[in-house]
Symmetry: C2
C-alpha cells in the first residue's frame, strides 16, 4: 500500500486494448500508427511492437526524440510545424523517417530554408472541428500547399492528417458514429481530388466505434491504450477497458456532508472534468457498483474531496486507499511521471527521466 | 527567443510582492509564514529570507523535504495528517521544527504510535468553506482534539490553521473583504475560547486586501508571490503585480475566425480557467491594452487556441512569441518545472530536480 498518490497501470488491459485496435486496423486494411502522447513510455511502447506496430505518432519534438532513443524509426509529430524549431526538426529527421504537419505554404518555405534533412509533410485538414488545419473543403488551398511541398528542397508529401476532435463533445456511441461518418464523407471528396495521397485519421472515440475507415489509409488513435472516465462518458469504452487508476490515501471523513478527503489533487489528476448531472466530476472512484452519487467533487493543489453515497461513505476508512479512475488519462500520466504495476514494477514516463 | 513554451519569472515583481506582504504582516503584528507551494523553488525561497522570513508553509511531505535540504528549519505542512506516512513525518520532524494539521483525535492517536520525534499539530478549522477542518463553531470537538494532542507522547499544540478558500469565488475586492471579515469574526469566538493558541490564517485574496488580521497571529498566503490572471479576476491584484508569464511560439493564424494557434497546451498551462462573459479563458495574452476579446479560448494537450480581436489578430505573426499570463500560476509552475529570467538564468523548481 503506497502512502502517496500513485498511478497504477494494468498491462493486461493495455495489451487487450492494443490487440483490439491492431486487429481492427488489420481487418479494415488501414495502417495502425498509434499516438504515443497518452502513455509517453518506452515500456508501454514495447507492447505495441508485439502487435506489429512500426510507425508511431507523437505530439512534440521532445517526444519524438524520446522515442527515437528507444529505436522507433518512423515517427509522425502530429502538431503543425513550429518555424522557430527548424534546427531540432533537422536533427531528428537525420535520425529517423520523420513526418510532421503543415497548414500553410509560408511555413513550408521558411522551414525549407532552415533544414537539410529529408522530412515528410502531412497536410493537416480540418473536418470543421475548428482547432487546426486547412478546411477540408478548400481544395484550391490544399493544391497550392501540395505544390509548395513538392517544389521544396527537403520535403515530400506524406499525405493528409485529420483529427475529428469534436467527437469528444458527444455522449453516445451513436453520436460518435454520426460525427465520424460525416468526417469520412468529407474525406472522400479529398480522396477523389488527391487519390495517390494517404489519409491518416484518428481520434479515440471514432477509432473505437467505427468498423470501416474508408477512405482513410492510416489510423492514429492514442488515448485508447488506457482509456479513462471521459471516454466512458463519451461512449468509446466500458469501465473495464480502463487500464490506469490512481491509488489515493483516505485522509479524513466528514460525516455531516458524506464527503471524504483524499490525498490526490490537481497536481496529480489535472483539472480536467466531466459533467455528472449539474455537478463536475474530477475522478471516478472504482467501486463494485459505480454510482452517480459518488465522484471526486473538487480538487485543489493536493486535496481531493470525494462526494459519496451514504452507503459508500460508511464503508470508506481513514488510512485506507481509494482507487480512482482519472477523467483524462493523458494528463494524469503526464503529471504522475511514472507507472506502477500490481506486481511491483515501475514503468517509465518521458517526464520522469 | 525560445522555440518552445517557456515559463518566465520577473524577480523584481517577486520581490515587490514579497516586500508588500512582509511589510503588511509587520504593520499588523502577525508572523509571516508564507506558503511555498506556489513557487516550489529554492531560488525563489531565497528572496523571502531577505525579508526576514524564518517559518514557511508547504503542502506535502515531499515539499517539506525539498526545503529542509535548503536549510529551512521551521516548516508547516498545511495538509491534514496522512496516517500511512508516519515514518516520513518522523524522519522530517527529526530534522527540523515540523508542524502539520489535524482534524480528528483518532488520527492523532494512530500517528502518535508510529513516531518518536516531536511535532507541532495545528488543529485545522473550517470557516464554513467545506473543504477540510473541524467546523470552527464546534468548540467541544476542538477541546477534545486539543486534549488528545496534549495527552500524546510526541505532539504539542501549534495552534489553529484556517484557510478561507471561498474568497476564490468572489470577483471584487469588496467581496473578498466581506468573506474575510466574516471569517475573522468566527475566529474571534475561537480566540476567546482558546486565547493562548496562535491562529494561522491565510489565503492570497484575504491577505492581499485586508489590513487588519485580528485575531490571527500568523498569515500564510502563497500565490501572492507570483499572482496570476485568476487573482486579477478575483480582485486580489492588478495585472502589473503578476510576476510570471509563459512565452509561447505562434504556430499558425486562422484568418476566418480571428484565431491563432500557439504551442502551449494543457501540459504547460494546466486546465484551470476563468469565465470571461459566457466563455472560458485558459490564459490571458499580455497586450498593451488588455481586452476581453482576446483570450486563450481552448487548450488540448499541446495546442492552445487564442481568440483575438481583429486588431490584435492583425498584429500577431507566425514564428513570433506570444506572452501569456497563466490563469493559475501554482499549477503552471508545477507543470513547467523551471523558471527562466529575462537575463538568462534558470531557477529551480522541485519537480525539475
Amino acid at each position: 500500500m503506497k502512502a502517496f498518490p500513485t498511478l497504477f497501470v494494468n498491462e493486461d488491459i493495455v495489451r487487450f486494448n492494443i490487440r483490439q485496435m491492431a486487429e481492427k486496423a488489420k481487418a479494415c486494411s488501414v495502417e495502425f500508427r498509434p499516438h504515443f502522447k497518452t502513455h509517453q513510455s518506452h515500456a508501454i511502447g514495447h507492447h505495441f511492437r508485439d502487435f506489429g506496430v512500426k510507425g508511431i505518432t507523437v505530439s512534440s519534438l521532445k517526444m519524438a526524440d524520446y522515442f527515437i532513443k528507444d529505436d522507433w524509426d518512423d515517427i509522425t509529430i502530429a502538431f503543425p510545424v513550429n518555424v522557430l524549431a527548424a534546427d531540432y526538426y533537422d536533427v531528428l529527421a537525420s535520425k529517423c523517417d520523420l513526418k510532421t504537419l503543415v497548414i500553410s505554404s509560408d511555413v513550408v518555405k521558411r522551414l525549407d530554408k532552415g533544414m537539410s534533412s529529408t522530412m515528410g509533410l502531412y497536410i493537416e485538414v480540418d473536418p470543421d472541428y475548428g482547432r487546426s488545419g486547412v478546411p477540408v473543403s478548400q481544395l484550391d488551398l490544399i493544391s497550392q500547399l501540395l505544390a509548395t511541398i513538392e517544389a521544396s528542397d527537403n520535403f515530400y508529401p506524406a499525405g493528409f492528417y485529420c483529427h475529428a476532435g469534436h467527437t469528444y463533445k458527444t455522449r453516445s456511441k451513436e453520436g460518435i458514429e454520426q460525427i465520424a461518418i460525416e468526417t469520412l464523407k468529407k474525406l472522400k471528396v479529398l480522396k477523389q481530388a488527391f487519390p495517390d495521397l494517404p489519409i491518416c485519421f484518428g481520434d479515440t472515440p471514432s477509432c473505437s466505434v467505427l468498423n470501416d475507415f474508408d477512405p482513410a489509409n492510416q489510423i492514429s488513435p492514442g488515448n485508447f491504450v488506457f482509456y479513462d472516465w471521459m471516454q466512458v462518458q463519451i461512449g468509446s469504452c466500458s469501465p473495464n477497458e480502463i487500464a490506469v487508476y490512481m491509488e489515493c490515501p483516505i485522509i479524513e471523513k466528514f460525516q455531516d456532508r458524506n464527503q471524504v478527503l483524499i490525498h490526490g489533487g490537481a497536481v496529480h489528476f489535472s483539472k480536467d472534468s466531466v459533467k455528472i448531472g449539474d455537478a463536475l466530476s474530477f475522478g471516478e472512484p472504482m467501486l463494485k457498483h459505480l454510482s452517480e452519487e459518488t465522484y471526486v467533487a473538487s480538487l485543489s493543489q493536493e486535496h481531493g474531496i470525494v462526494q459519496c453515497s451514504p452507503e459508500v461513505f460508511s464503508k470508506l476508512k481513514v488510512g485506507e486507499i481509494l482507487k480512482v479512475f482519472p477523467i483524462h488519462s493523458c494528463l494524469t500520466a503526464d503529471l504522475m511521471r511514472e507507472y506502477h504495476t500490481e506486481d511491483g514494477k515501475i514503468l517509465d514516463h518521458m517526464n520522469g527521466v
